[in-house]
């Protein structure tokens, strides 16, 4: 956060003051132009799409924004997406919070190994991962349905929600969750506080719930939100494994009602943006409190 280039110019030696002021003026003008062009480029399609979703020949209709909840398939697709997102967030946090706390407190040597494994899903695209997953799923479904393998895969694929998706989503969200928690642990003096709590006789469970969780509140919230938003919009894996959460439904439904499809797209982008803004505000308030 260093908005200093301008003030740096302003405090330059007075001998060249006039020339500098002229340059600064030109820079500000150029910056305004860049921001304006960018604003038009990015807001333009959004505005056009919004118009598309309410345009009705000679008038305006809000039917897309009032009727989507009763549209066939919306409720079940949205419900599936929310369930998947919730299970993913819980699983990811259960897996990574204890792991990261442990490597920061007890096993700093394996930090780089865990970091590597957590960031790797960034390197292997989801479209590649899903090829492997569907192959493994194929082995499972071709196994004898009464055998242990057959029953296990039946559970993974046909439970509500189908567990195979959140299990893989945890992998897809791992880079974001890892980074958020890791930087949170780096910034706070967790190690000292945990040692103090242990010396005073607190159990590991108490330490986790009453020391670690409050310290990492912002990072955990941040990680949970990112994972949640990623799962809500996920398309590649769910569509190729033949499930129908929100994003897949939205694509298939477009043939029936284009206006509704565009309206829901706008709503989902706007919702994500608002949640992200709330995150930024909370994080900013915490940072101010810490200093």
């Amino acid at each position: 956060m260093v908005a200093v280039t301008d003030s740096a110019l302003a405090t330059a030696p007075p001998s060249s003051g006039r020339r500098l002021r002229a340059t600064a003026g030109r820079v500000r003008w150029g910056r305004g132009l860049v921001l304006l062009v960018a604003a038009i480029y990015f807001i333009g399609p959004l505005a056009a799409a919004f118009w598309f979703s309410i345009d009705e020949g000679n008038g305006v209709t809000w039917h897309a924004y009032t009727s989507f909840f009763h549209t066939a398939g919306f409720a079940s697709a949205a419900e599936l997406s929310l369930e998947l997102a919730a299970v993913t967030v819980v699983l990811a946090l259960l897996l990574l919070v204890p792991t990261l706390v442990l490597i920061h407190l007890r096993y700093p040597k394996v930090h780089s190994a865990v970091e590597l494994l957590s960031l790797l899903p960034l390197v292997v695209p989801p479209i590649v991962l899903v090829v492997g997953v569907s192959k493994v799923v194929g082995w499972g479904t071709s196994a004898n349905p009464t055998s242990f393998t057959g029953q296990l895969f039946n559970q993974l694929l046909n439970s509500t929600p189908p567990l195979i998706l959140p299990l893989e989503y945890v992998v897809l969200t791992m880079p974001f969750v890892f980074r958020s928690l890791d930087s949170g642990l780096r910034a706070s003096n967790t190690a000292t506080l945990v040692e103090a709590a242990r010396n005073l006789g607190a159990s590991w469970f108490t330490v986790m719930v009453r020391v670690v969780m409050p310290l990492l509140r912002t990072s955990i919230l941040n990680a949970a939100f990112l994972a949640f938003a990623l799962v809500l919009g996920e398309f590649t894996m769910s569509s190729l494994l033949q499930y129908q959460p929100f994003a897949v439904w939205l694509l298939q439904f477009g043939d029936t009602d284009g206006q509704l499809q565009v309206a829901l797209s706008l709503i989902s982008l706007l919702l994500t943006w608002v949640l992200l803004m709330i995150m930024t505000v909370i994080a900013g308030r915490d940072a101010r409190k810490a200093t």
């Binding site: 399609p45 056009a48 490597i103 390197v123 479209i127 090829v131 493994v136 992998v171 569509s239 943006w273």
Partner: protein
Amino acid sequence: MLPFFGYSALFFLLPTGVVLWTAVKSGSGFTGGNLSQTIHGAYLTGLQNSVKVSVIDAVLAAVLGLILAQAIVTSRHGFLRRTVASAAAVLANFGGLPLAFLFVAAIGNAGVLTTFFSKHFNVDITNHYDLYGVSGVELVYLYFLVPLMVLVITPALEGLRPQWQEAARNLGASRVQYWRHVAMPVLLPSVFGATALLFCSSFSAYATAQALTNGTLSLTSLQIGNALDGNVLANADGIAAALALDMIILVVPLTVLYLYMQRRTSKWLQ
């Protein structure tokens, strides 16, 4: 520690390994047949299209994103910067499917702007691009790649110390000289790394292109999807895995380059 490593092995390393294994496996032996099939004919065209789209978009997005990020970083309105930063995060990470629909609504065959221009100016703007073809995919990808560039290059731009510019000025350097001899050399590794990341994002994107073209365009990611989905191909598994392996071969070194450059940058940022 064990649950974490076990989890990664089971749900990440195993499927990835299975891809490699399936790509080169045939009956009881090994084969290069799948791989060689994916670098000939229609699959070669797909690879070429994908590389072309990704190179053009990565370079364009890197240049445009750099300019935009510099404008945002030097802006003094904190609110504007926060708003733009979070909007960029939304478009870069969660764009996917909605972006395709937005563009169809704006400039598709029945889009708002298309109708507007044909009604009032009697011009059919769809003559100048094919939204459902390669040029359309390039256009729509830019919409999430430019924000991605802004996100990844902003820390590097914020790391440029104002003292460097002051020092250069005191020594009599012009603006151009400052950028040419001070800022550019410092930024270059980050810019290269970011461009590599943009290439990979574009190359492995699936949802946007699938929604735009219904899977008909020959791009490698769509061909993988079709091979998995269709069940019409003989040996579909082998082809899908071999295409996935092609993708790994192209994308993995570039992503590693990005992560390495990012680590280098974060060192001198502290």
